[in-house]
């Protein structure tokens, strides 16, 4: 995936770029808002990591211009101010997530992964398959209106599978989407996760099936 980082603090920018490149993404780095705006108009990105306090054009202005051009690229905001006003303003302007400095780089990786996952496949907020409905905004799965109690990983797995029903995902793909490339969880733990999810979805009118040697898919039964 191609990611743009707009951050003026050199040491922090370096770290973010290194961290995202380590996840296997192609990363461009703009040191100020104007440069970021140019790059966004020149190329297609799958994600923007945007600092709010920038010299010249502010992160807020950049985000506003981006959304005015009707570009839907997900934006992750970085801010040093934790005031809720910032949160509301940026969400109103169309930010998808925000993090308060100082942040943990593992958390940054996880958020980036979640944003990319959420913005792949079907963009609607409600994913349906059989009697199973997955609400992306509240992150709740329901069967015939009844909430199914799922762990966060089970929810994420379900989200990936349901974004493209019947598509076959390899174990490696799923691991990457859920934990990242160099993650410790083994393929074995993925099998455990699938097993638990299957058990919880009994009677939901869907099934997670295994294509030998290929991977997993979700289908209506």
């Amino acid at each position: 995936m191609r990611i743009l980082v707009v951050e003026d603090t050199r040491e922090l920018g370096e770290g973010i770029v290194e961290c995202l490149a380590g996840m296997g993404h192609a990363v461009d780095w703009a040191h100020d808002g104007e440069r970021g705006d140019e790059l966004l108009q020149a190329a297609d990105y799958q994600l923007v990591v945007l600092d709010l306090m920038l010299p010249g054009m502010s992160g807020m202005a950049l985000l506003k211009r981006l959304r005015e051009r009707r570009v839907e690229t997900p934006v992750l905001i970085l801010t040093a101010r934790s005031a809720i006003d910032d949160r509301i303003d940026t969400f109103d302007l169309g930010a998808d997530d925000y993090m308060v400095k100082p942040f943990d780089f593992r958390e940054l990786q996880a958020r980036v992964r979640a944003l990319l996952r959420r913005n792949s496949g079907d963009k609607t907020n409600e994913l349906r398959c059989g009697a199973l409905v997955f609400d992306r905004t509240t992150r709740v799965a329901r069967v015939n209106g009844r909430i199914v109690s799922l762990t966060r990983r089970e929810l994420s797995l379900l989200e990936v599978l349901m974004a493209r029903p019947t598509m076959v995902f390899s174990k490696a793909q799923l691991l990457d989407q859920l934990f990242g490339f160099n993650a410790e969880p083994s393929e074995n733990s993925m099998e455990v996760l699938i097993f638990r999810l299957r058990k919880k979805l009994v009677g939901a009118g869907v099934e997670i099936t295994v294509q030998r040697g290929l991977g997993y898919q979700i289908v209506e039964t």
């Binding site: 809720i84 942040f103 943990d104 990786q109 958020r111 992150r139 762990t151 966060r152």
Partner: protein
């Protein structure tokens, strides 16, 4: 209306000044009214007294009218002049006329002001005569004899000097009395005002004389009426004192909490330089990372605490919707990178729950509760419930982690109350949440649920919200 406001603004700012102004106004107006009344009464008294003399003199003259040989004639008696002479220094004129208007005796130019129909009763009036204002009386008398018959008239005019002198004399005496009584009353009132307000001066002096740091209760000997004020000041001082003490304790604790990890980080950084193997260095960096994230959490909590203290009682409360707020908090407070895989169970019984509060500090409190439960609580399960009844809203955050041991429930909400070894957070989360709950008329309860989950209940009053929405 505006003029009234301008006037009110121009009034003196002190009670003493206002009372003085009011008293001066009352006594001035009262004095003037009393003087006017005195003048009216003395004038009436003088007029009445001298009118009696005048009427009596005119009557005596009229009694002296006789008929001789069919002709009217009169010889005014001495007694009449003596009566008139009682008004010392006054000039007087008189005229007596026969029924046909013929002059019998007296001053021919004198006429009654209203030459009316003959009446038995004397008629009084004023005229200008011989260059002066004069009081007149006219008396008609029916003379009936065999030879002549008719109404003879007697008019007597008298200058007003004696009356004026009497009025002046009376006014001097009454005025002196009014002035004396008024001045006495005014002086007594003014000193009463001063006396009544003196305790305030004493309280003010007692406060002004204090040293800056002195927050002990005031000890002022004051009457019962101002004792209320002294007590209010003392209770405010006590609260301030408690707050200052808390703040000092907190600053001391916070300083310790910040300096220790900083020192650890410094030491560990030094040690990296001396570590011989790559593995040892990596382990050291890993530890550094843990300390840094702890310090980040502490910084966030300290800033959160400062923000909550600042906003409490300063920011007006508004309607806040708790279900959506809780969803946001769950999104923000549960790290995506959490190693444990937990199920978050948030099923609100209602779609919306409104309370009256400050959404920013409510959010801070909930962030801390959830963050506590997730980072050092929940093993696999976090359950969040919002229970609302008419008076209160209870937000219950329960997890299947070890929780706080029961012997520490009592002071769990005190800042930094947990021993360092048992916590990896900063130890401010519950204290912040408790502060916010208190600011919303509620409290924090620590306990275990029936299914043996560790549960923190954050309850706040919703009464104000109901009043607002109805």
């Amino acid at each position: 209306m505006r003029r009234l406001e301008t006037f009110a603004r121009r009034l003196p700012k002190s009670i003493r000044g206002r009372l003085r102004l009011l008293l001066t106004a009352v006594f001035a107006v009262g004095g003037i009214v009393a003087m006017v009344a005195a003048w009216i009464f003395s004038t009436a008294a003088a007029t009445d007294a001298y009118d009696r003399l005048l009427i009596s003199a005119a009557a005596q003259i009229s009694e002296a009218i006789t008929v001789e040989h069919g002709r009217f004639s009169v010889l005014p008696p001495d007694s009449a002049f003596e009566t008139l002479a009682q008004s010392q220094g006054d000039r007087f004129f008189f005229v007596v006329r026969a029924p046909d208007g013929r002059l019998l005796t007296g001053h021919p130019g004198l006429n009654a002001p209203i030459p009316g129909i003959p009446e038995v009763a004397p008629s009084l009036g004023f005229i200008r005569f011989a260059g002066a204002e004069m009081r007149t009386v006219a008396i008609y008398r029916l003379i009936a004899s065999p030879t002549a018959k008719g109404w003879c008239s007697v008019v007597v005019a008298q200058s007003l000097d004696a009356r004026h002198r009497l009025v002046l004399r009376l006014m001097l005496k009454i005025g002196a009395i009014i002035l004396f009584v008024g001045a006495l009353g005014f002086a007594v009132s003014l000193s009463a005002v001063s006396l009544a307000l003196r305790p305030f001066d004493r309280i003010g002096q007692a406060i002004a004389a204090r040293r800056e740091q002195d927050l002990h209760p005031l000890e002022v000997d004051s009457p019962r009426e101002t004792q209320v004020l002294v007590e209010a000041i003392n209770s405010a001082l006590a609260r301030l004192n408690e707050r200052m003490t808390n703040l000092q304790t907190f600053a001391g604790l916070a300083a310790h909490q910040i300096r220790t990890p900083l020192a650890v980080i410094g030491a560990q950084t030094e040690l990296i330089l001396t570590d011989r193997t790559q593995g040892a260095r990596l382990a050291r960096v890993e530890r550094l990372r843990a300390h840094l994230s702890k310090l980040s959490r502490l910084t966030n909590q300290l800033l959160g605490q400062a923000m909550v203290s600042y906003r409490t009682d300063r920011i007006p409360h508004q309607l806040v919707e708790l279900v959506e707020l809780m969803r946001q908090v769950l999104r923000d407070a549960v790290p995506e990178s959490l190693d444990r895989d937990i199920a978050i169970d948030f099923a609100p019984s209602e779609d919306t729950v409104f309370v009256f509060g400050d959404s920013i500090i409510l959010r801070e409190a909930l962030l801390n509760l959830i963050s506590n439960a997730v980072t050092h609580g929940a093993r696999s399960h976090l359950r969040v419930r919002i229970d609302a009844d008419r008076e209160t809203v209870a937000i219950c955050v329960a997890d299947d982690g070890p929780g706080i041991p029961p012997d520490r429930w009592q002071d769990a909400c005190q800042p930094f109350s947990m021993p360092r070894e048992t916590r990896d957070g900063a130890g401010l989360g519950l204290s912040i949440a408790a502060h916010v709950a208190k600011a919303h008329g509620g409290s924090i309860a620590v306990g275990r649920t029936g299914s043996d989950l560790f549960q923190i209940t954050f309850s706040i009053a919703r009464k104000a919200a109901d009043e607002e929405s109805q």
